[in-house]
């Protein structure tokens, strides 16, 4: 994997998840109790042996920068190689939208890396993969470009890229659709190709007025290349809407998903280390079917929920089917159901708060209810 340079594109704005992503990039959304979405993208690269990784920063980049810093927690603070931040291109006279101008502005990173292949991924998909298998597959298939996909198991709203393939696994059609149906082949935003191919697509597309790497670059150039498709067999979630975010978090309560995503000894998911104390359960705690992160203090009832670092649930409080982000405080006698609270929310004594089963109620950052 020494011949691969990784680029993680954090430039994918996402309109369907605005409530939680108003103050941070989608990629910095907290996930599964102690992670942020971007942790999966970076860990997948690192676990696959890729040690040169570029991070294309989103417009709101503070949360991402504060989370990743030198990249040390991902073993990317290295003397050689390691992590490089690829900042967004200045607007200058170019008011074009889309991610392509940023990729174009940072093309040097890939071209001067001395590597043979570029692996471009994003951070809105959650999965645990060994990209070594993808590289092997790419070499064997003799293709110009390899895309990683998985078969959608349910119908979902939200923009997705789907492909059709011939029996020998070669992509015959590639399109962006507004919603995806069960059984369709969902491209997980991961593309592998030789550096010159990548540079060719980016240059020719940008210099002809293109805006979006996927739409204007890949899809319009698809007929010029032999594209193969690698099927990822494991768990995948696409965080495209608030509901998908809620569902993906709750998927982690299934022991098989929790084991596959997080407990693989060879491929742990790394995140920023915070030195929190193990969870303190007190005498009155009553916890069932939940994930609880370190730094929490639990005296009340918690069921079917994801509890992030440093949350307190007081005696007599009840938390059901909810996601409570960092440092929330659920006070005595309070009761929440089908709720997502952003960071530092306080649910004061005896308040009741309930969302709908298929539409969790979202409490914004630092709110006091």
């Amino acid at each position: 994997m020494k011949q691969v340079v990784g680029i993680i594109n954090l430039q994918e704005g996402n309109s369907l998840i605005r409530e939680l992503a108003a103050t941070r990039a989608v990629e910095a959304l907290p996930f599964a109790g102690r992670y942020r979405l971007v942790d999966f993208a970076i860990s997948n690269m690192v676990n696959s042996g890729i040690s040169t990784v570029g991070l294309m920063l989103p417009d709101f980049s503070r949360a991402v920068l504060d989370h990743i810093r030198s990249g040390k927690d991902w073993d990317l603070a290295r003397r050689r190689d390691g992590l490089t931040y690829l900042p967004a291109a200045l607007p200058d006279n170019d008011s074009r939208k889309g991610d392509l101008k940023d990729i174009y502005a940072n093309l040097d990173f890939a071209e001067l890396s001395g590597k043979q292949y570029v692996l471009l991924t994003n951070a809105s998909y959650i999965y645990n993969i060994d990209f070594k298998d993808v590289v092997e597959f790419h070499k064997k298939s003799n293709a110009d470009i390899t895309m990683v996909y998985s078969k959608a198991t349910t119908d979902r709203d939200g923009k997705s890229v789907v492909i059709e393939t011939s029996t020998n696994g070669i992509v015959t059609d590639l399109a962006e659709v507004p919603a995806i149906k069960a059984g369709q082949k969902d491209v997980m935003g991961a593309y592998l190709m030789p550096v010159p191919t990548f540079a060719y697509i980016v240059r020719t597309t940008y210099e002809r007025g293109g805006q979006d790497f996927l739409l204007d670059g890949l899809i319009r150039h698809a007929h010029e290349f032999k594209i193969s498709a690698y099927k990822h067999q494991g768990y995948v979630a696409h965080i495209n809407s608030t509901m998908e975010y809620y569902e993906a978090n709750r998927d982690c309560l299934k022991p098989e998903v929790w084991e596959e995503l997080f407990m693989n000894n060879d491929r742990p998911i790394f995140t920023k280390v915070k030195d929190e104390v193990p969870v303190q359960y007190k005498d009155t705690a009553n916890v069932k079917n939940s994930l609880v992160a370190n730094g929490c203090e639990i005296r009340g009832t918690v069921e079917n929920s994801i509890i992030f670092r440093g949350v307190t649930v007081a005696k007599g409080a009840v938390v059901k089917d909810s996601i409570l982000m960092q440092r929330c405080d659920v006070q005595e006698g309070a009761r929440v159901e089908n709720i997502i609270t952003d960071k530092n929310v306080i649910i004061t004594k005896n308040r009741w708060l309930k969302g709908a089963e298929n539409y969790p109620y979202i409490v914004t950052k630092n709110a006091r209810i």
């Binding site: 030195d275 104390v277 193990p278 969870v279 359960y281 007190k282 005498d283 509890i307």
Partner: protein
């Protein structure tokens, strides 16, 4: 090396033979504690929190796991340019090699390191105590007293006093007038915590004398402190009134773990001073649909499907359905299978308590299952 004011030296070479099965493969300072820590995290975090940038760690007994754990010192923010953690095992010289013959000898053999670090003061710590402390206040007292030596002391009950090294002090000034090692009839209840600040030239002089003295046992408590007292050195006590626990025995180690579990614990790991440790990359723990968890501490990566009460559960531990774990400490990656019962026990790393098996100790007789052992039903 850049000059440093206070150099930390942690004595981490002890075998900890009273911890029996727990120290078969690791040195005492590497023994796990409190759900995610190891004993040495406490003095190391204290150093980091006191602004000490250079710390020597003296190792000797089965050092591999300890060395591996310390790594570059980055877990404690001690991977500093021109400073950080220095691992100091015994080494060979032109004429043969010596093991560390005692606590004082360990420091004596590393005088070259102390000279290189060039501190004004040397802080000597043991690697087997659980407490949080900001040593900078102790240093201030040392300077204010214009002391040669300052010794951290802790008030113990009079009944316990005969188990400790006791400092008899002048009530007003705190000046130490007498030292009694494990006295039958203690004259004071101030126990030495094994924390010493020495002015460097003073320490060097005594170490050099002691190093060549063939009648010495080369121990701070046995040899150097009595000699310094006899010489009428300026020796002061520094009283510490927080939580402090010697975890040198199975019972005391178990008790210190249990102390963390009360509703308002006497020692709160969440206190003002953060304890740093090496963090494995594991997810939040999972509590199953039929589990029950009370009065316990549980770390990341654990999977709890049975009942856990009054217990400390480390990372990656599995407790199966209908298993019952009470009054116990389960060290990393140990497994308690379906229907097994664990009560008043310490289960060491990677041990497996098979389905339906019973491991039961009682208060005062904590049952220890050694590392990697398998207990069948």
């Amino acid at each position: 090396m850049r000059k440093t004011e206070l150099l930390g030296m942690i004595l981490a070479g002890g075998q900890g033979s009273r911890l029996k099965a727990l120290t078969k493969t690791v040195a005492k300072p590497a023994v796990p504690f409190g759900g995610k820590y190891r004993i040495i995290d406490f003095p190391l975090s204290n150093c980091a929190n006191s602004g000490i940038e250079k710390v020597g760690v003296l190792t000797q007994y089965k050092p591999l796991e300890l060395h591996n754990y310390l790594g570059s010192g980055s877990s404690w923010d001690l991977d500093r340019t021109g400073g950080g953690v220095f691992i100091l095992p015994p080494y060979a010289r032109e004429k043969g090699a010596d093991w560390y013959r005692g606590t004082a000898d360990a420091i004596y053999q590393n005088l070259n390191f102390i000279d290189l670090a060039d501190p004004d003061y040397v802080l000597i710590l043991s690697g087997d105590h659980i407490y949080t402390m900001d040593y900078s206040w102790m240093l201030k007292a040392h300077k204010d007293n214009n002391a040669d030596v300052t010794i951290g002391v802790f008030e113990v009950s009079w009944e316990e006093a005969p188990r400790f090294g006791i400092m008899v002090t002048d009530k007003e000034t705190g000046r130490i007038t007498e030292f009694q090692e494990k006295p039958k009839e203690p004259k004071s209840n101030l126990a030495s915590m094994g924390i010493y600040i020495f002015s460097k030239p003073f320490l060097k002089k005594y170490l050099e004398e002691d190093g060549v003295n063939e009648n010495s046992t080369h121990d701070f408590g046995n040899d150097l402190i009595p000699k310094m007292l006899a010489d009428n050195a300026r020796m002061f006590s520094y009283a510490f009134d927080g939580y402090w626990k010697d975890v040198g025995t199975i019972e005391s180690l178990w008790q210190a773990n249990m102390d963390l579990l009360q509703d308002q614990p006497p020692f709160d790991l969440k206190g003002d001073m953060k304890i740093y440790s090496s963090n494995p990359s594991l997810p939040p723990h999972f509590i199953g649909p039929n589990a029950s968890v009370k009065s316990s501490m549980i770390n990341e990566g654990a999977k709890i499907e049975g009942d856990v009460d009054k217990s400390v559960i480390f990372q990656g531990v599995k407790v199966g359905p209908d298993a019952k774990v009470t009054n116990s400490v389960i060290l990393p990656s140990a497994v308690v299978e379906k229907g097994a019962v664990v009560n008043y026990a310490i289960i060491a790393q990677d041990a497996v308590i098979k389905a339906g098996a019973k491991v039961e100790g009682k208060p005062g007789e904590i049952f220890v299952v050694p590392e990697g052992a398998i207990v069948n039903a």
